[in-house]
């Protein structure tokens, strides 16, 4: 029996955007700010997904992931996210640190390859030892209206993942409307996604507050309907600490404290960590730190 999309509530665009905008108007100061900064670091999937990635660059990124700053109060990030060919390097460097290795498989970022090729990529990446797989949905099929195919592909990739956690990237910047985002979230969760993720970071717009809110509400409703916990990962375009805690507050107010853990929430980012570290130093020393004192990858 082919998959049929269950009835999905339609999204009130104005309400979602107003609600999301409300999160940008709050301010966090002093000790709460320091706690929010540390919290943000714990949620980060520190990412490098460039054609120019080298083992050396991944190595430096892993060291930064484990110990982002000299100050021992700054925690490690949640995971390092790299291309499949770099998983081995990352695993060697991160062994025993508790920092997970995530990898983008399935012909990232477009997903435009044959299903067997994508499945093989996932299996091999998991065999290498990746803890988490970030897949992209088949937007070609989605936009052509072939919902069942999108669902079945995710389900078979979930199977190929075995013990690895599966994050499903919807690439919301290519879906067009909030209603499409809500529907795609539903399909991904029905197909067994452990996390749903906004974007690859290669398409603009990437993560936005309203899109993330729509996805968080889908997760909430799915949890109420089935009892199944699905995590959320906004990714792309989150560059400042201030933006990051807007997401954190939104998660708390939509899904509650239970989701404020790296097991259920991640921030996919690369330059965000540096901004958090700059803010951390500012909070610690009282003066503004220089970007030149931080590594640029």
């Amino acid at each position: 029996m082919s998959y049929v999309l269950p009835p999905v509530p339609s999204v009130d665009q104005v309400a979602v955007e107003q609600r999301a905008a409300a999160f940008t108007k709050r301010s966090i100061k002093t000790s709460a700010k320091k706690a929010a900064l540390a919290f943000t670091v714990r949620m980060i999937d520190l990412t490098t997904l460039e054609g120019a990635d080298t083992p050396g660059k991944v190595l430096r990124l892993c060291r930064k992931a484990m110990r982002p700053a000299l100050d021992p109060q700054v925690p490690s990030v949640a995971a390092v996210c790299v291309y499949p060919t770099m998983v081995g390097v990352a695993l060697r460097e991160l062994a025993g640190s508790g920092v997970k290795v995530a990898s983008v498989a399935t012909a990232f970022p477009s997903g435009q390859s044959f299903l067997d090729v994508r499945l093989d990529e996932v299996r091999r990446t998991v065999e290498l030892g990746a803890d988490e797989i970030d897949m992209v949905i088949n937007r070609g099929a989605w936009l052509a209206g072939d919902v069942a195919r999108v669902h079945d592909e995710i389900a078979s990739i979930k199977q190929a993942c075995g013990p690895a956690h599966l994050k499903v990237i919807l690439e919301t910047g290519e879906l067009g409307t909030y209603d499409q985002v809500r529907k795609a979230s539903q399909v991904a969760m029905d197909a067994g996604a452990d996390f749903i993720k906004t974007s690859t970071g290669k398409v603009s717009p990437a993560a936005t507050l309203p899109v993330t809110l729509v996805m968080l509400e889908a997760i909430r409703d799915h949890f109420h309907a089935t009892g199944r916990v699905v995590g959320m990962k906004p990714a792309g375009g989150i560059r400042t600490a201030k933006q990051a805690w807007q997401y954190l507050v939104m998660v708390k107010e939509t899904l509650g404290d239970a989701w404020l853990t790296p097991d259920r929430f991640r921030l996919g980012a690369s330059s965000l960590l540096n901004d958090v570290l700059l803010q951390w130093e500012r909070a610690r020393t009282g003066h503004y730190e220089s970007v030149r004192s931080l590594s640029d990858d």
């Binding site: 009282g286 003066h287 503004y288 730190e289 220089s290 970007v291 030149r292 004192s293």
Partner: protein, 301 residues
Amino acid sequence: MSAARRKRSGAPERVPVAKTYKLYVGGAFVRSESGQTSRQTDPEGRFVANVSKASRKDFRDAVRAARAAQGGWARKSAFNRSQILFRIAETLEDRRSLFEHTLVEQGGFAAAEAAAEVSSAVDRVFWYAGWADKFTQVLGNVNPVASPFFNFSMPEPMGVVVLLPSLRSPLVGLVSAILPAIVSGNTVVALVDGELLTPALDLGEAIATSDVPGGVVNILTGRHAELLPHAAAHMDVDAVGLWSADVGMRTALQTAAADNVKRVRVHDDPERAAWRDPAAESLYRIDEFVEIKTAWHPIGT
């Protein structure tokens, strides 16, 4: 049509559009993050305009913009930088009536002095622009060394320079601070204080239309006493120039600047006529904001 004639003709009275003077940061005109403004008044104390009053966070944003722009500005060819700086002089000349009007109406300058002030500002920009492709030859050197090396020293920009220009000379004092710093490839954040703030922000508008890339010159109007401690302690600022004889300010600056070994350049703030004197322009103002790099190149025996 005059207001009186319009009234007689029955046309409705026109509501004038007043200008809010905004900060110039990263090539954009922005209000202060704090929402604060100060009142620009004329010499009789009558209200003229609201001028955005920069806060600590505006300063932080301006340093970020200056840092982002610095590499690209320094990598431009010296000749290209000189062309762009010449363009500032052209734009200023074109707007001289605006500046003269402001100096007279808001600053209480006599008409002749206002004209002299603007002329001097244009000439000052022009003079420094000419140095862009020449100062390296004069400040750089080939050094005689007693070993088989070709040894030469070259001036290079320091990076991000914060300027606290003259409180007395609202236009010439400002360009005399900004131009020698940017000619070598530095980017600047100018913190403008004093009785007359509006010409500084009008200068920002002239610079914005002179092909100067956004972030190379950032102009903030605010209180020196409030912003100086943050400027002196900011780790991403490479040098600070201060034109003030105030011993307290000089000491505070030098103490806080020691943390990241900022270059600190302090000068007195002469009377405004002295600022217009050609003696106030000097190659050594360019020299103040460059570092000298010396290279040893083997030449064989």
